[in-house]
Symmetry: C2
Subunit: 519 residues, 2 copies
């Protein structure tokens, strides 16, 4: 099954229903599908052939969604670029993927002078904004207007549909090749798990280049639901957009949810339409869940866990487990159970499934598992073993099949021979009322190997010293897990495109010249 | 993705939840999975190898469900036998499929003396009942008890999982080969469309050998829901079972729904748990919907359309369209819109899609479309053309993507050069208060080719003559569509395994020695 089927299904079963609402611009599914066919015609006029790559570097918007369907309609492969990258990293992604065209919006035009000289394969630049196209760029609407509608290329399920790069730095960056069938399988899993239907009105607030939001890009379309947008996450704008567009669902990470539930605009906004939040990257601390259930009582929270290599969803936990009492309580630190079409097991290094409760690596199998890494067959062979993908994430599974991420294996701290899972320490820190944001990392220690170190951003006007925070932790978790040192910062912690705190960045200053041991 | 994954998922995510409830016998998913592994071990001890066929001839029950997972767990292929067949037909299915073993219950033991001599490949008979096994048969529980748990054969998605025969007569009968991936795809489509979750408690009332019920056999399992059973449909027993087992959903056909909503036990039964009915074979006449919504106000009706070749679901219409007023009204005669993973188009004979509103053949594409007909590559090539399956069903599609079956193309009556769709005439007849059941067929006519003929069963104590019924029809539909003759019967009309009225049977006496022209 191919990606374009999703849009066709929406156009055929809900033609008059809203497809995109972006500011004053509203298009129904019939109009959307007609535009996609013409945009695909425009891509063909540019000489983009089947299997060729087309990249996009833009903030969220309706044209981004059209792009996601026009590219496969033309038979090509999309390459969404992380909007937080530096110019050399962007150039690496474009060149590594061999992208023939780049779609770019106003926010990233200033990068072009430095970017263009570094590009090896990009032949066409398409301007995605509303103003006049700068010199040398084709206007997106001209691409649309100048072309006849193309026929659906009808790619097979096994053809690649997109390449999603993971990692932000040149050396580690790898292109995850997802097929049409991969993304279609994830859409079905998401539609079941998140209970989407044609009344879903998805607010794209997390960045659209990332599959955390992309899950719903495809699943909501398949169900004939609607899409609305804010260019990028901002808690106040999110609340305003929910009210304005009557949005029903969005994807956020706990740090964003934290900002939303504490936002001064919240009480004044009408968010009655809002009923579902998919979140990931980490569990919601209990205090945050308590607050969220209190101030957003109609909203159901869904905790998803996955990775780009899995299109991305592996596990999901619905609102019925986001409770503090009753028979379903006690699962709050879990990321849920395997999605409908996914098999998950916790394995030792050799790939043998471990008994319930033991920590091991998550391995997964299903129609959602990637074709492989772009141009990296050896890495692909090491990552997908006997049909199971090695996620590199450490976790346990309980007797009910709930998965608990203990850490990215590479984020685990080994201090004095003991494994310390940073998430557990962060959870303890978050229970301190003065803590707004925090990250726990291992820093070099001559005797222990690594020392548990916390980086903390306090709430405005709150005060707490390192000693007070460490004492607070000691009351909650074992002594060896508690931070030995605390650094206070005023700026928000650096986030990845998926909204995860970038621990690699935080670790860098401490580890320069040294090498952190990775399990 | 393989069938056994569904059961494993249920066992892993809802181990303590009910899997089967049959009378006093209740098993949870962990117990169910353990039994299936041992039964598969038993099959292996019988020498059943990968890809070999194992048949079952039984009424509904928990062991039937175990059979559906034990056979693929052993790597074999199940062959569910229509319980309404005559002995030579059963023998044909068993021999044609080359089944190595037959599972049989008490209801069909009396057939064995005549059946056994006709069997060419069956080496083992397994007795599925609760009494002692008759001579020459292995007891099902002995098969279980005598074996160690086998490992999941882990068949690939492209391996055949089952052969479902269509057609009841030897000459036309063909084995529909469905793969693991086919049935898994349908289960995902059904889980989305029918909104199953682990709280679903499916009552197997329609025969389990047929995929109308089989849709939910697999989809409910995938979601970790429960299964309960009545041996075969009976309106009073259905109501008692809903109350006893707190059943939530079942599959019925309109003729069965008609019997249920008119049953004298209905007002006295507690059916508060019952909230969904999947029906098919034909639309529900408006009068029946009106009555059903009145007497079962909590029940949502889902109209599905499909065929075994498509595992089986192609389209579905949910409760929101089973309404008599409001913006969603007017779709009652439709069988809904394409399921989530299915493409449907209405085509002319050459396979070109027709404009909306025109009658043509339904063709479909999706991961649910069969591997092919067993041992009939030529018929398979004629049936699946360019990846699209020809259903042989005539239909229109409206601008909203709703499909309206006009008739099996072979059931269409051509009278005086006009196409008459029997369903339309039957719908008119059903609006007459005296009509309990009816079927409209074409019978030979020297001048017109075919004559529209109605076979009618009146309600007890009701009276209506042929002329009155014809006059009633004339007030509702065009003159050329109205019956020219009416035959009254007292016995229920003959039904197929799927609960469809067997028009081939009804036509036989009129057409002996002649040949009905098929489009």
């Amino acid at each position: 099954m191919r990606l374009t089927h999703m849009m066709l299904r929406a156009a055929r079963t809900n033609r008059a229903g809203s497809a995109t609402v972006a500011g004053q611009r509203r298009r129904n599914w019939q109009e959307f599908a007609a535009r996609v066919a013409r945009l695909a015609g425009g891509l063909k006029r540019l000489g983009i052939g089947p299997g060729e790559r087309v990249a996009i570097l833009a903030l969220n918007g309706d044209r981004y969604l059209e792009f996601f369907f026009a590219v496969p309609w033309a038979g090509a492969v999309f390459v969404p670029i992380n909007t937080r990258l530096a110019v050399p990293e962007i150039a690496f992604w474009l060149n590594d993927s061999g992208s023939q065209a780049l779609f770019i919006d106003d926010a990233f035009l200033p990068l072009l002078p430095r970017l263009k000289p570094a590009l090896a394969t990009v032949r066409h630049l398409v301007y995605l904004g509303d103003g006049p196209a700068p010199a040398g760029l084709t206007h997106y609407e001209a691409l649309h207007d100048g072309a006849a509608a193309a026929d659906d290329a009808e790619r097979s399920g096994h053809d690649p549909a997109g390449i999603f790069y993971t990692g932000g730095t040149t050396g580690q960056s790898k292109g995850v090749m997802l097929s049409h069938a991969n993304l279609h399988a994830n859409a079905l899993n998401a539609a079941i798990g998140l209970r989407f239907d044609r009344h879903t009105n998805w607010l794209h607030a997390a960045p659209m280049f990332h599959l955390a939001d992309g899950t719903s890009t495809f699943a909501v379309t398949l169900m004939g639901g609607a899409h609305c947008f804010i260019p990028k996450f901002d808690a106040g704008e999110l609340l305003a957009a929910i009210e304005r567009y009557r949005a029903s669902h969005s994807c956020l990470v706990p740090t964003m949810i934290n900002l939303v539930v504490n936002h001064p605009d919240l009480p004044g906004r009408d968010i009655a339409s809002f009923r579902g939040v998919l979140y990931g990257a980490s569990p919601m601390p209990e205090a945050l869940i308590r607050k969220a259930l209190d101030v957003m009582p109609r909203v159901g929270f869904f905790h998803g866990y996955g990775q780009s290599e899995c299109s991305p969803m592996l596990t999901l936990m619905g609102p019925e487990y986001h409770v503090l009492e009753g028979p379903n309580a006690g699962k709050l630190t879990s990321c849920g159970q395997p999605a409908a079409g996914v098999e998950v097991k916790i394995c030792d290094q050799a790939g043998n499934e471990l008994p319930r409760g033991q920590i091991g690596e998550i391995r997964a199998r299903g129609a959602n598992v990637m074709l492989g890494y772009w141009n990296q067959p050896e890495l692909t062979r090491r990552t997908i073993v006997d049909g199971w993908i090695r996620t590199g994430d450490g976790a346990t599974m309980d007797e009910d099949g709930f998965v608990y991420i203990v850490d990215r294996l590479k984020d685990m701290i080994i201090s004095g021979g003991e494994n310390v899972y940073s998430a557990e320490v962060e959870d303890a820190l978050y229970r301190h009322p003065a803590v707004l944001e925090c990250a726990v990392i291992g820093i070099p220690h001559d005797k222990w190997g690594e020392q548990v170190h916390a980086i903390v951003r306090l709430r405005p006007a709150a005060t707490a010293g390192a000693e007070a925070l460490i004492r607070h932790c000691k009351a909650l978790i074992a002594n060896y897990k508690c931070p030995r040192s605390v650094a206070f910062v005023e700026a928000p912690l650096p986030l990845s495109g998926a909204g995860k705190i970038l621990k690699t960045e935080l670790r860098k200053p401490y580890w320069s010249g040294r090498r952190k041991q990775v399990n």
